[in-house]
Structures are given as C-alpha cells and as structure tokens.
C-alpha cells in the first residue's frame, strides 16, 4: 500500500461528522470507507457508532428512533441498547427474551476538536486520533467532495487557510471535508467567518473536482456482508456455575434501605451486555459462593449494572459477604445477564407487585414501562419507609408507584386481594417477594380468575429441584460423552456446559445454526426451521429448543 492510500486504511481513526450532527434523540447517517454507519447520542451523552443495519431484516437504523437509551428499528420495533448494541426486545415475541447473540456491530467513538471520530479497524485497541488541542474549536460547514480522498487531502494541505481540515473518506471517490477554527470567533463575526471559509472551501472543491473528473474513477469500495457470528460468551446458561466471564469493579456501594446495600458494577474491559428488565446475574463472591441478583437497570441501560442485596439474618455466607467484605474498588466476576422473568410490553396494563428486596427486578420493569409510556402500577410492599430500597427511583415514577408500608400478613393479603380484583383479558401481573407473599398472591390471582399465562413469578432455577420426569440422557456418539438434560435446560446449554463448542444464532429454533444430526432416539421437535419431512425423518434436531421424546437421545457429535 502506498503512502497515498493510507487514507483508506481501516485501522486509522477518521471523523464521521461534527458533534452537532448527533443532537438529542437524533440518528445521523454517516459513511466511512464504503460502510454505512448509524450515529446516535444516548441521553447520557454516549455516542454510539453502529453498522447501519437492523440485524433482523437489514433495514437502516437511521430511519429508526433514538429513544434515549435504546434505538428502535422502524420496521418491527426491535430495540437495541446504547453502548453494547445488544437487542433488548422483540415485540413479535413479547414473552421471549432475545438471545444475547443478537448484538449489533459497534465501533468506538471519541469526540474531539468539535468532531466525532471512529475507527473500523479490527486490530485490537487503537490510539485515538492525535488531539489538535482545539478545546475551543468552532466547527465550520462540512462539505462533500466527489473526488478521491487522498487527492482532496493533498490539495487541502496546499490551501492557505486559518482553518484545520479533516477528511472523512466516504468511499474511493467520495469524501467529506470537515473544517474547524482554532478559536471561536466573536458572536458578531461568526456568520461572516462561516461564509468566508465556506467560499474558500467551495473554491477548493471546484478545483479538485475538475481534476478528479479527468482522472479514471476508482472502483467503489466493497464491504463484505458479515454473518452474525455465534458467540460462546453471553449465551444464557442456567446451570453454568463456571460462566463468569465478565469482570467488574464495584464503582459504588451504598446503603439504600435498612439492611439493604446497593452495588454499582462497572465493566473493566468491554461494555457490559445489554440488560433486559427481569434479568439477573451470577455474582462470584470472594468466599467462593455464587449468588444470583436481579439487575435494577431499565431496559437498555448498560452504563453500569446496579443490584440491591439484602442482608439475610440466616445468611449462609452470601449476603453477609456482600455486606461485610466487598468494598468499592473490588474486582468481582459475574456472569452475563440471563432472563427467566421476561417483561411483555404488549399488555393493556401491567401490575407489578414487589415484596421487600423482591423490588429489584420489578423496579427495572416499572422504569422500562414508564419510559415507553405504557400503562402500569408498581405496588411496593416494605416494613417501613426506611426499609424501602431505591426510594428515590420509586419516587421518580410518580403516580405509577404505590407503596404499602408496615402491612401485617393479613393486611398484605387484603391489599393483594384488592390489587388483583381488577383485571382484563390483556393485563399481566409480575410478582417477586418472600415465599408467603408469593403464595398469597398466587391464591388471590386464581380466585380472581387470572389465567396462568398472565401471572408471572420470579424464581431462580435450582439444581436440586429439576423435574426428573421430563429429563433425558444425551449421548454423544463420536466423543463418547453421556450428559443429562434436566427440565428447564436446553440441549444446547448442556452441550456447552460440557465444553462442546456449539454454534447458535437466534436460539428460537428459527435459523438452523445449531442443528445437529441424530443417531438414535426420537426428537421432540419444537423449532420452525426443519420442514415436515425433515422432522418426520428424525435424523436432525435444533438443539436450542427441541427435546427428546425418549429417555435417551444419541447425537452425531
């Protein structure tokens, strides 16, 4: 590669717009080296630079909506979280948590000298662009040129101007020239300064484009379509105790209620996977115990995870370790979030009932529904005001939240009876709290005619409570492994726990990526990928959703 072509080197940093191209709630379309980019600023100021393509059907994300912490595709309403690009919600399947493999391609962004910069390189961490020290920079008009970027760069270097020029190579024969002034002109001179520089640059453009028109036009750059690569990490694995691939530091630890501490967990390396309301993480404690805690983050808010931990009087070392041992600055291993308590967002009204520390997943749900303008009520039960965790966030919900303080068991039962008396066919209720309260809520819901499918309880899967009647044995013909698949586990998860590298993509039985051959046994097909004759043949199975009709299934692995 000659020096002249270095400007087309993907590992370099390039400007892709001015900082004011990404104003509040806008999605800016940019193009760099033939690749289209969606550039959007989250409400916390974070600038996202993504492939401009929804992973579902390839629709440009720049025609979608910037909703503050999430970007919503215009076509099917899929939501992607700021920072990670992870999909948090698929409206066509409101009861299913999106697979964490559904994650948009993100590129790093920095803002400096009045411009937004990114790099498309894959070769590890990069030094950001050299800072011109233009803290006081004044961005001038950005001008598109129909000419090779390097030709433009050479002409600009020979241009006498007080402005600094930065070339955005859009394609082999296209670029945008961004210019900034070292100092912001006085208010009454800004328009004339702007006009003067625009005239100068337009003159350069006329000259360069006239030269470019006489040169052979280079072929446009081609960007290969990337397959959505299956990832080993971030895949939901209910039993995997070794699945602690994320490292976080405790950025903040504070007492949020009597006997309850809150921890804010900050990623050390990559951004944390996008949380979905209702999801939880495994926390690996310094004493070797592993405990599960719900994330309180609203949908798509992946800045830092926030959990709440109650000191259990009967603690066997889990909550007491969090309370007494963990300190701000400590490094902790956690799993990627998993979601067994998925929030539907298609209910006419959602009732959220929280008892004590059971508030944590429901707070995430309440804030998500609140942000989306959907009808909900959060009922938070606590012993007293002092026992109400995250009271400030509950207060921010305004009329969406009702607190029930110091209720006796009988009063709690009566309150649940009143809350659950109101329902229509399209309402849903989510309940998380102590056992007796769950039982009371379940009884009440039944009495008021709630269908089972509309009442959702949070539970953490327990290894000792697997229903053997629906479990089966999995034998791997080639590797000789014999594994056991329990209720609530998928074949895919069990294979991965056993160290078998398995590709997957949609994890809904739709894409066929995880299909493997069946040597013997009868598959119980639950996918939509295999056609009727393939199902009838019984020699292949989609391992992400399908199970075994027999006690043993032998796979060609």
């Amino acid at each position: 590669m000659t020096d002249d072509n270095q400007i087309l080197d993907a590992d370099r940093w390039f400007p892709i717009g001015r900082t004011d191209d990404a104003p509040f709630r806008h999605v800016h379309q940019a193009k760099l080296l033939g690749r289209e980019l969606a550039v959007w600023r989250a409400d916390d100021g974070f600038v996202n630079v993504w492939d401009n393509r929804c992973l579902h059907r390839g629709v440009r994300l720049t025609v979608g909506m910037n909703e503050g912490v999430e970007l919503r595709c215009l076509y099917h309403g899929w939501r992607y979280a700021s920072r990670t690009g992870g999909c948090t919600y698929i409206p066509a399947h409101p009861a299913d948590a999106p697979a964490q493999t559904i994650c948009n391609r993100t590129f790093p962004a920095v803002e400096r000298d009045g411009l937004i910069w990114t790099t498309l390189g894959d070769n590890g961490p990069h030094e950001p662009p050299p800072e011109a020290g233009l803290d006081n920079a004044f961005a001038l008009r950005s001008l598109p040129f129909s000419a090779a970027p390097d030709l433009v760069r050479r002409h600009l270097e020979a241009t006498d101007s007080s402005a600094r020029f930065f070339v955005q190579p859009v394609d082999a024969h296209e670029c945008v020239v961004h210019s900034v002034l070292l100092e912001t002109p006085a208010a009454d001179e800004q328009i004339s300064t702007w006009r003067h520089h625009a005239d100068t640059l337009t003159g350069v453009r006329d000259e360069v484009e006239a030269i470019a028109a006489r040169l052979p036009t280079p072929e446009p750059l081609t960007v290969a379509l990337e397959r959505i690569e299956p990832r080993e990490q971030g895949v939901p694995m209910p039993r995997a105790r070794t699945d602690a691939q994320l490292r976080v530091t405790i950025a903040r630890k504070w007492t949020t209620a009597t006997g309850v501490v809150a921890l804010e967990l900050e990623s050390i390396d990559d951004p944390l996977p996008a949380p979905q309301p209702g999801s939880h993480i495994d926390v690996h404690l310094p004493n070797g115990l592993v405990r599960q805690y719900s994330l309180t983050n609203r949908s798509g808010d992946a800045a830092n995870y926030v959990i709440g931990v109650k000191l259990e009087p009967e603690s066997r070392g889990g909550s007491s370790c969090v309370h007494d041992v963990l300190r701000e600055g400590d490094v902790v291993a956690i799993s990627a979030p998993r979601n067994n308590f998925t929030l539907r967002r298609d209910a006419s009204h959602t009732t959220l009932i929280a008892g004590g520390i059971g508030l944590t997943p429901l707070l995430a749900m309440a804030e998500t529904l609140h942000d989306s303008g959907l009808s909900y009520t959060l009922h938070a039960f606590a012993q007293s005001t002092d026992h109400l965790a995250f009271a400030d966030r509950i207060a921010d919900l305004g009329e969406g939240a009702v607190t029930h303080l110091g209720a006796s068991p009988a009063e709690t039962g009566a309150a649940l009876d009143t809350i659950l008396a109101a329902r229509d066919d399209d309402s849903h209720v989510y309940i998380c709290g102590p056992g007796p309260m769950l039982d009371a809520a379940r009884t009440n819901a039944e009495a008021h005619g709630w269908p089972d499918a509309s009442v959702h309880f949070e539970y953490f899967r327990n290894d000792t409570e697997i229903d053997d009647s629906t479990s089966f044995t999995l034998s791997l013909a080639r590797s000789g492994l014999t594994l056991s698949v329990g209720a609530g586990e998928t074949i895919l998860e069990v294979l991965r726990s056993a160290g078998v590298a398995m590709p997957s993509s949609c994890e809904q039985g739709a894409c066929g990526t995880c299909v493997v051959g069946v040597v013997s046994g009868t598959p119980l097909h639950q996918d939509v990928y295999l056609n009727p004759s393939e199902r009838a043949a019984g020699d292949r199975i989609a391992t992400c959703v399908s199970r075994s009709a027999d006690t043993e299934l032998v796979l060609d692995l």
């Binding site: 393509r53 579902h56 215009l74 959505i228 949609c506 809904q508």
Partner: protein, 286 residues
C-alpha cells in the same frame, strides 16, 4: 450500483411467466420498461392482442393474459400460470390497484408482503397497533410446491368500516411463484368467503421492481377508487422500508440476518428458493 444491469441467466427464473403490466393500461403506441435486466417494449394492437419485445435481442417473446395482467416469458414458457380459483367467481371485483416502482429486489417485496410483525409499526392504526405486537404461532410449509402459511392471526385496529373496536383477523398466505404472493382474508360481510389480495412482482433488474397490486374482493359498497386507494396507501407505507433495506437482494444464508419464529413463512420461502436453485435477485448461500 454502477454499470448496466446483469441480464438474467437463471433458468429457474427465465422459464417462468413474469408480470409486465395491467391490461387496461396497455397502449397501441406501446411503452417501455425492463424485465430481468433487459429493456422491453410492450403494448397491444388494435385487435387487443398484447405483445412484448425484448429490446436487447429485438425478439418477440411469448405472452399470456391472467388475472387482468399481461405476463411474458424469456425462456421456455410453462403451460400454465398458478391458479386463483376465486378469480373465476362471477361476483368478484377484480382490479389492478397500481403498478409501483420500488428500488428493491423481488424477493424482498414478497417477504415484506408475507410479514405480519411490521403491521403495528409500518401500518400503524390500520393493520396493527402497539402494544398488540405479538405474532402468534402459525403453520408454514410447502404444499404442492407452493409456500403456504396457515392459521395466521393478527390484531387489527380497524377490521372493517363498520367496526368500532379492534379484533383478531385471520390470514392465509400463499407464494405460488418466486416473485408472486397472495393473501386470503375473511370477507367482513360473509365469513364463509375470503378476499384475495396479491402482489405480482416484475423484476425489472435484480434491485429494481415494479409491484403490480392485484385485488379480487367481495365488496358491494366500496368504489373502485376506494379499494385502490386503500391498497396504495398500504403499499406506500411499505415502499420506504423496502428502499431502506440492505442488501437489496435477498440473502439466502440464514446467518446474514436473524430470523425469529414469526418469520417462519420467510424461512420456508428462502429454503424453497434455495431448493429451486434461484440465483437471480438473491444472494445465494455460501
């Protein structure tokens, strides 16, 4: 895209009938368009015999008339086109509801027509509405070498002019031709019968189409203009989505895009195209 479009060399596509124009729009003077990457001229003579000529080879090509449209074939013409028995019923209103040029590929237009999940977002307040976004399980499979999706249901805010509340609407979808798609929907005034709405896609090039809207309805009250206007309003909402899809040609590798269970009909459709060996207007699987 630079350069001239690639003329179709895909026998799976060349040996099919392709729609060219609605019969009432044929002129004696003739018009020009494109089909499968070749420029064509088409029209009708005084005796109402329509004709289609390729301008790249200057050859006249076989034509036929079906469902109110003119069809042409560049290869070995099949004896018949797919059948729509409802079109033969005497009280049916059969209309062409507009031929609209779109910068997309024919299979992308077919998939969009098969898709229910976008109703609340693209046809807001008409065919769907948030938060009623769920696509309930349905059955899609090949039947007699056509794609059929049955037991499809979707919540529709305005099911008919008389309705004042939303209701679940039943749909059946059918893809009888790689570039043609039909839907069947209950007639509001007579639940025993079904309206048929179709999209016959003229692949002008791999990445440009003319979508011919076909209506075959039982409706005694709405004017022709009213029926056409409704179809065109719906299609005009789909057009900007179709023109913002990348890539324009349909990728047949299931891992280029992320299908979900709601896309079962599209999954069957893509696998059907693979099995037929279709290479035109698609990106073949690696």
């Amino acid at each position: 895209m630079s350069g001239s479009p690639r003329a179709c060399a895909d026998p799976a596509i060349l040996n099919l009938w392709h729609p060219v124009a609605a019969i009432p729009e044929l002129t004696v003077a003739g018009d020009t368009s494109m089909l499968l990457g070749s420029r064509i001229a088409y029209g009708t003579n005084d005796g109402l015999e329509p004709w289609v000529r390729r301008l790249d080879t200057d050859a006249s090509v076989p034509v036929r008339i079906e469902f109110g449209f003119l069809w042409a074939c560049f290869g070995d013409p099949p004896d018949s086109l797919f059948e729509i028995p409802e079109a033969a019923e005497p009280d049916r209103r059969i209309l062409n509801a507009g031929s609209i040029k779109v910068a997309t590929s024919a299979p992308r237009a077919v998939e969009n027509f098969l898709d229910m999940g976008h109703f609340p977002y693209v046809h807001t307040g008409i065919l769907g509405e948030e938060p009623r976004t769920e696509v309930v399980e349905y059955r899609a499979a090949l039947e007699n070498d056509e794609v059929w999706a049955r037991d499809c249901q979707f919540y529709q805010p305005v099911a008919s002019a008389a309705a004042d509340a939303g209701q679940m609407t039943d749909y059946t979808y059918r893809v009888p031709h790689p570039y043609c798609v039909l839907l069947y929907k209950s007639v509001p005034t007579d639940p025993s019968r079904r309206d048929v709405i179709g999209l016959f896609v003229q692949a002008m090039t791999e990445e440009t189409i003319r979508a011919h809207n076909f209506i075959c309805m039982v409706d005694e009250t709405t004017s022709d203009t009213g029926l056409r206007r409704f179809q065109q309003m719906i299609f005009s909402q789909d057009k900007p989505i179709l023109e913002n899809q990348h890539p324009k040609r349909l990728p047949l590798d299931p891992r280029i895009e992320t299908p979900i269970r709601a896309d079962q009909s599209a999954i069957v459709y893509r696998r059907w195209l693979i099995d037929m060996g279709v290479t035109y207007a698609v990106i073949p699987a690696a």
